[in-house]
């Protein structure tokens, strides 16, 4: 039995996208991952309100929704704090061609900076752009054949724009 339809947590228009996704799948429990994808894409993260709303609308236990949301790496329960992201590929080809040194150089620069610069340094599994190894995604843009110096140069550009 499907639960009675409930109202979205807020007036935000983005909920329409999430509603449409659930409707397209006939409010079946198996629409959960697709719905979480849509929510993550619209809001950037999954907060408790969203999880509760999706659980109630699809008629599945909140614990189940939470379990799925925390199992998959693509979903995040916290908003992304930093304004810039820098994702270092740590796939095999990149690893072999110097990704560890890239990651270390970037972390040294950002994570150990007491001024807390608005950049997140993340590591990703293979981006499947192995021809570009070692590759880094700067704010969604893949850049290949990098050295630590070249990568730091890009970061510095961001920091200078900020200040």
């Amino acid at each position: 039995m499907k639960a009675a339809r409930i109202a979205p947590p807020s007036e935000d228009k983005r909920w329409r996208v999430i509603d449409a996704t659930m409707r397209r799948h006939g409010y079946h429990a198996h629409a959960l991952i697709e719905t979480l994808h849509a929510t993550q894409e619209s809001f950037g993260f999954l907060d408790e309100d969203a999880l509760r709303y999706i659980a109630a609308t699809l008629g599945v236990a909140l614990s189940h929704v939470y379990g799925v949301a925390t199992f998959y790496r693509r979903f995040t329960l916290k908003p992304r704090g930093a304004r810039h992201t820098c994702v270092v590929c740590t796939g095999t080809a990149c690893h072999l061609k110097g990704a560890p040194a890239l990651l270390e150089a970037l972390q040294q620069r950002i994570d150990h900076d007491p001024t807390n610069p608005p950049v997140s340094i993340l590591a990703a599994r293979c981006l499947a752009s192995c021809g570009l190894a070692p590759a880094v995604v700067f704010d969604g843009k893949v850049v290949g054949n990098l050295t630590p110096d070249l990568a730091l140069e890009r970061i510095e550009k961001w920091l200078h724009h900020e200040s």
């Binding site: 095999t92 080809a93 192995c130 190894a133 990098l146």
Partner: protein, 557 residues
């Protein structure tokens, strides 16, 4: 659409292609896209407009052309000219050269072994056609295999065809595709499913991505053929969530196929109906395992369940489900079109046909290649791959990613094949070929893959959840020079334990990289052992010192 309409459309589009004197193709594969080839397409478009050539020389972005290390690549048809490392500054010169003298300084020779030694069957149209236009796919014979299957063959005949071709699963395990199809076809259940596994998660593998992005209609056609053969009318395309371009192109291709009546109800006026939906993976390597993949499509946590029952008997929502890898499916239409004998004539006794490989690592030509099975690794690395760059020497090649193993120089003449590779402790895997040179530490390679398995373990069974952490810990000790002979012995016994007691393939194969590096490079492990046991605990996040950095590798080398 009826059969005549398909032929007409195909002819019409093929004819239209011959009417245009020149065409420019720009590689829009993932690697070249990373080098901004999308901007290149726009720049060429602008330049063509400016010179009033947009009608006589259209430009299109196409799927991966293969030679990623020379990207971005631009090709001029029908002259067969290929330009490499193209930047926006070269655009006006390239456009001006169309129909005139080619620009020698940008040319990429097409008579090098990288191109001539390949046999492109799965990748036949990849890089040749615009993946976002169904007209292009139809012009090169797309959906004719589906037409043949539906109008001239019974489902049983299709399966016999696949069986005779000797095609085996390209996802890694190498299970005979025909047998799998037979099992699903035999299952008595009115509702069955076909699932395409596009959740390519091995680090260093991008074969499926190349096919999905370069020729999505080929895979859609194959899924419909599979549906017809096994008696399924619903299909799911399970694609890795990170592959946004693949997802976009697949969704577009499905829409175009539906609009042209190539998917949906009563295809070609026959009683056969087939619908297709795309489902996104959400970033879990283990989701590539069949039972975990089913859990993912059903909207649950992607953890594996014990087999049997196999998905072929009880899969998606308890119904018989055929799960095939992207490259396996993409091999089907040529088998129908050219016959099973033709396909079986390529390859070795037990490994037929061609296989797509992602050639990466310390090798001159990196990219996507397709060769007949039975080709030796030496040919792949030293002829097609062009050897080892920067004056270094070959040390080993890693195949099969985190489930595979390393192959040293003495086995370079092993012909590529499922059994042949297994005998020397490696596996075909999904097709990643990673070349290692004399600067690579084998312990470090093993540690890298163990770290991958450790973080990707779903945590359901104890041997894998705990074993991978412990093995990673021991490998970190060895690579930081703080391990004793006792640690090495413990590592070996753990390998045995995890291999034999884990629930699914991830855990069972996690020790493979360790076992194979131990088999061929035991000296490297032993050389870093110490005789004084250290009681110091190493934090799990410890990393060995970073290897020396390198300059931008071999651009144009």
């Amino acid at each position: 659409m009826n059969p005549e309409e398909l032929h007409q459309l195909a002819e019409q589009h093929a004819h239209a292609r011959t009417q245009i004197p020149h065409r420019i193709r720009v590689c829009a594969g993932s690697s070249c896209m990373g080098l901004h080839s999308d901007q290149l397409v726009n720049a060429i478009q602008r330049e063509l407009k400016q010179q009033g050539l947009e009608k006589t020389c259209p430009v299109s972005g196409v799927g991966c052309m293969g030679l990623c290390s020379a990207g971005p690549l631009v090709a001029i048809d029908p002259d067969g000219i290929l330009y490499q490392h193209v930047s926006e500054a070269d655009v006006s010169a390239i456009v001006a050269s169309v129909g005139n003298e080619p620009l020698e300084q940008l040319r990429c020779p097409t008579d090098i072994p990288f191109f001539t030694r390949q046999k492109r069957v799965v990748l036949e149209h990849c890089g040749q056609i615009d993946p976002e236009r169904i007209e292009d796919a139809l012009a090169v014979g797309g959906y004719t295999a589906l037409l043949t299957a539906l109008t001239e063959m019974t489902p049983a005949e299709v399966i016999t065809h696949v069986m005779r071709s000797g095609l085996r699963g390209r996802g890694g395990a190498g299970y005979p595709t025909g047998l799998k199809w037979t099992t699903v076809a035999k299952a008595r259940n009115p509702r069955k499913f076909v699932v395409c596994n596009g959740d390519e998660g091995d680090p260093g593998a991008f074969m499926d991505r190349g096919v999905m992005e370069g020729d999505p209609h080929r895979v859609i056609e194959a899924m419909a053929i599979a549906g017809y053969a096994v008696g399924a009318s619903e299909g799911y395309f399970f694609v890795r969530g990170e592959y946004t371009t693949s997802v976009k192109r697949l969704r577009k291709a499905i829409m175009q196929a539906e609009r042209n009546g190539l998917l949906g109800a009563n295809i070609f006026g026959t009683p056969f109906s087939f619908t297709l939906e795309v489902r996104l993976g959400a970033g879990a390597f283990v989701s590539g395992e069949e039972t975990a993949l089913i859990a993912s499509i059903e909207g649950r946590r992607g953890t594996p369940t014990p087999r049997p029952p196999y998905p072929a008997e009880q899969g998606l929502w308890g119904c018989p489900t055929l799960i095939n890898n992207v490259a396996t499916l993409a091999s089907i239409p040529p088998i129908i079109n050219h016959g099973s004998e033709w396909y079986a004539s390529m390859g070795t006794a037990n490994s037929k046909g061609t296989h797509v490989f992602a050639l990466t690592g310390k090798v001159v030509n990196t990219g996507l290649i397709e060769v007949p099975l039975g080709t030796t690794l030496r040919e792949v690395i030293f002829e097609i791959g062009g050897g080892i760059p920067n004056g270094h020497s070959f040390k080993a090649v890693q195949m099969g990613g985190p489930s595979g193993g390393c192959i040293p120089a003495e086995h370079l003449d092993t012909p590529l094949g499922y059994e042949a590779l297994q005998r020397i402790g490696a596996m075909m895997g999904s097709g990643g070929i990673l070349v290692l040179d004399d600067t690579s530490s084998m312990v470090e390679v093993a540690r890298f893959f163990m770290e991958f398995c450790m973080t990707e373990s779903c945590g359901k069974c104890v041997p894998c959840r705990v074993g991978t952490v412990q093995m990673h810990h021991l490998l970190t000790r060895i690579s930081t020079g703080t391990a004793t002979a006792h640690d090495l012995a413990l590592l070996e016994s753990l390998c045995d334990l995890v291999q034999h007691t884990s629930l699914c393939g991830l855990g069972r194969s996690a020790p493979n990289p360790v076992l194979s590096t131990l088999r061929y490079f035991r000296n490297e492990y032993e050389a870093s052992l110490t005789s004084t046991p250290s009681n110091e605990l190493i934090p799990l996040t410890a990393r060995p010192p970073a290897p020396p950095t390198q300059g931008p590798n071999g651009k144009g080398a």
